[in-house]
C-alpha cells in the first residue's frame, strides 16, 4: 500500500497511466513475434499502433508531464498526489483494439501484462493493474484472464474499448465476460481518442439493436456538431445566427457546456478566435428542443437540468407522432415547480422568440 495520509480519506486512483514504449514490451513478447519484430526493426522498435498523426498545438512543447515507466515513477507520483492505491493502465496499449494483426495484438497484450506484472505492479505498495486483453481474439483473451486471475496485483480485466469492432455488446466477446465473471474481476473499459480512425462512429449495421443506435446516436451526433461548430468559429463568424438542436434529450447539454469549457482552458490554440467561453456561445446562440426528455419522472433531475440549461435555451417539443414523442401535459406537470416565467419560456415563449413569431391573440 502507498503512503497513507492518516488525516484524509483513503484515496484510490482508478485510472493512472504508464507511458509504455515498445522497448518495454518487446523483451516480453512471445515468439515468433519477438524475433520477427526485432528482425525487422532492430533497436528502433517502431510503434505497431496505428497513429492518426493529429496536430495538437497545446500539447506541443507546452505541458511537461513526466514519463511513468518504472515502479519508482509510479510510487513517486502516488506520493506527490496523495494516492494510496492506484489502478494502473497503459497508454499506447489503449490502441490495442486498432492493431490490424489479431494474433500480434494478443501477443502485445500478453507482453504488457508480463512487463507490468514483473516491473510495475506491486500489491503491497497499492499498485494494482488490469489484465489487458486484446478484444480481437476473445478466446485468447479469456485464456489470458484465467492465467492471471490469481495474481494479487491484477484486480480487473482491461479492455481497450477504442477501435473495437464490432461494439462490445456483440456475442463474440462473451468468452471475455465469462472468464472475468468466473474470476470475479470487473471489466474496465478505457477509450483512446485516435482509435476513431478505425472504428468510430460505428456504421448502422454494427449496432445490434435499434435501442443502442437510437439512445446513443442522437446525442453523440449533436455533441460532435456542437463541438465542431464552436471550435471552427461558426458563432464567431455568424454572431446573429441561432442554431437549434433537436431530438437528443437534455442531460448532455450541461455536460457538454462544461466539458467544452474545461477542454478549452487546456487547449485554446485549437480555437483562438473564440471571444467567449464555449458555454457562453451555447447560451447565446444555441437552442435545444426538449424531447425526448429523459427521466421525466424524476422531478429533481428535471428541475436541475432545466436550471443548468436555462429556460432561454430550452424549448418544449413533442416529436409527435414518432414513437418516442413526449406528452405535453406530462412534461408541463414536471415543470410545475419552476417559477412561472421560466415554465412559460420553456413551454413556448423561447420558441416564439427564436422563430420570431408574434404571440397570437
Amino acid at each position: 500500500m502507498g503512503e497513507v495520509d492518516n488525516d484524509g480519506p483513503i484515496v484510490f486512483d482508478t485510472d493512472f497511466h504508464l507511458n509504455e514504449g515498445m522497448e518495454h514490451l518487446v523483451p516480453y513478447l512471445v515468439d515468433p513475434y519477438k524475433t520477427l519484430y526485432e528482425r525487422d526493426y532492430g533497436e528502433e522498435y517502431r510503434d505497431p499502433f496505428p497513429q492518426a498523426g493529429w496536430f495538437a498545438p497545446d500539447r506541443m512543447g507546452k505541458q511537461s508531464p513526466r514519463q511513468v515507466q518504472t515502479r519508482e515513477d509510479v510510487s513517486d507520483a502516488m506520493a506527490e498526489f496523495d494516492i494510496d492505491y492506484a489502478l494502473i493502465q497503459p497508454s499506447n496499449c489503449m490502441h490495442l483494439g486498432s492493431v490490424h494483426h489479431d494474433e500480434f495484438a494478443t501477443a502485445l497484450a500478453n507482453a504488457y501484462n508480463e512487463w507490468a506484472s514483473n516491473e510495475i505492479l506491486d500489491s503491497e505498495k497499492g499498485i494494482y493493474g488490469s489484465i489487458l486483453v486484446a478484444p480481437q481474439r476473445p478466446e485468447t483473451a479469456a485464456a489470458e484472464i484465467r492465467d492471471r486471475k490469481d495474481a494479487d496485483e491484477f484486480v480487473s480485466v482491461g479492455i481497450p474499448s477504442g477501435g473495437v469492432h464490432p461494439p462490445l455488446g456483440n456475442r463474440r466477446y462473451h468468452p471475455i465476460y465469462e472468464a472475468a465473471e468466473e474470476a470475479g474481476l470487473p471489466i474496465v473499459m478505457h477509450n483512446a481518442v485516435t482509435t476513431i480512425m478505425t472504428a468510430f462512429p460505428q456504421l448502422f449495421q454494427e449496432f445490434s439493436r435499434n435501442l443502442t443506435c437510437h439512445a446513443t446516436l442522437h446525442p453523440m451526433q449533436q455533441m460532435v456538431h456542437l463541438a465542431d461548430m464552436i471550435v471552427q468559429g461558426i458563432p464567431v463568424e455568424f454572431p446573429n445566427l441561432k442554431i437549434v438542436m433537436q431530438e437528443a434529450g437534455v442531460g448532455w447539454i450541461p455536460f457538454m457546456m462544461r466539458r467544452l469549457d474545461n477542454e478549452y482552458l487546456n487547449h485554446r490554440s485549437d480555437a483562438p478566435m473564440l471571444e467567449k467561453m464555449p458555454s457562453e456561445y451555447i447560451e447565446d446562440q444555441f437552442y435545444f428542443s426538449s424531447q425526448p426528455f429523459e427521466a421525466v419522472q424524476e422531478q429533481k433531475y428535471v428541475e436541475y437540468v432545466v436550471e443548468l440549461v436555462g429556460s432561454d435555451s430550452l424549448m418544449f417539443a413533442t416529436d409527435y407522432p414518432h414513437f418516442d414523442f413526449d406528452n405535453t401535459e406530462d412534461v408541463m406537470n414536471r415543470l410545475q415547480r419552476l417559477p412561472e416565467a421560466e415554465r412559460e419560456k420553456i413551454a413556448g415563449k423561447t420558441a416564439l422568440d427564436v422563430f420570431d413569431i408574434d404571440q397570437h391573440d
Binding site: K62, G233, E237, D261, L265, P272
Partner: protein, 136 residues
C-alpha cells in the same frame, strides 16, 4: 525555494496594504530563468522575460500545478483568411503555461489566454540598483 527578505525599511515605501520584499540580484537571473520564492508562506514564481521581470502566484488556478516549472511562451492566435481560420504566432505577449494541464496565463496581467474568469494573481516587480524586489 528561496525565502525573500523584507526590505520595506530600506526602501521606505511600504504601506499598510503592501510590502516590498527583496528577491535577488538582477544579475543572478538570465532571460528565461525563473525563481520560486516564499513570502510569508505565499509561494511566488518570479520570471525574467526579455525585457522585464514578472511575479505570479505559483499555484495554477486550475488544480494547483506549479507555475514556476511552466514553459514561457507567446500565445497562438488565429487570423481569418478567405476560407479558414489560420493559426498564427504573431503575438509577443509573454505567457507561461502550467506544466500539468497547459493553462496559459499572460505573465504581465495574470489573465488566462482564454476568455475566462480564472486569472492568476500577479505582483509588481521593481528593479533598483541592480536588485530585484517584489511588492506583495
Amino acid at each position: 525555494m528561496t525565502d525573500a527578505s523584507t526590505d520595506d525599511t530600506e526602501r521606505g515605501d511600504s504601506s499598510s496594504e503592501s510590502t516590498v520584499y527583496h528577491v535577488t540580484s538582477v544579475d543572478d537571473m538570465e532571460e528565461g530563468d525563473r525563481l520560486l520564492v516564499d513570502i510569508d508562506g505565499q509561494s511566488l514564481a518570479i520570471f525574467r522575460g526579455s525585457e522585464e521581470f514578472y511575479a505570479i502566484s505559483n499555484y495554477c488556478q486550475h488544480q494547483g500545478g506549479p507555475m514556476c516549472k511552466g514553459r514561457m511562451l507567446n500565445p497562438l492566435d488565429s487570423t481569418k483568411s478567405k476560407d479558414a481560420w489560420e493559426l498564427s504566432q504573431d503575438s509577443d505577449v509573454p505567457t507561461v503555461a502550467c506544466p500539468w494541464h497547459g493553462w496559459e496565463y499572460e505573465l504581465e496581467t495574470g489573465e488566462h489566454v482564454a476568455p475566462t474568469k480564472y486569472n492568476l494573481p500577479t505582483y509588481d516587480t521593481i528593479v533598483e540598483d541592480g536588485e530585484l524586489y517584489v511588492e506583495v
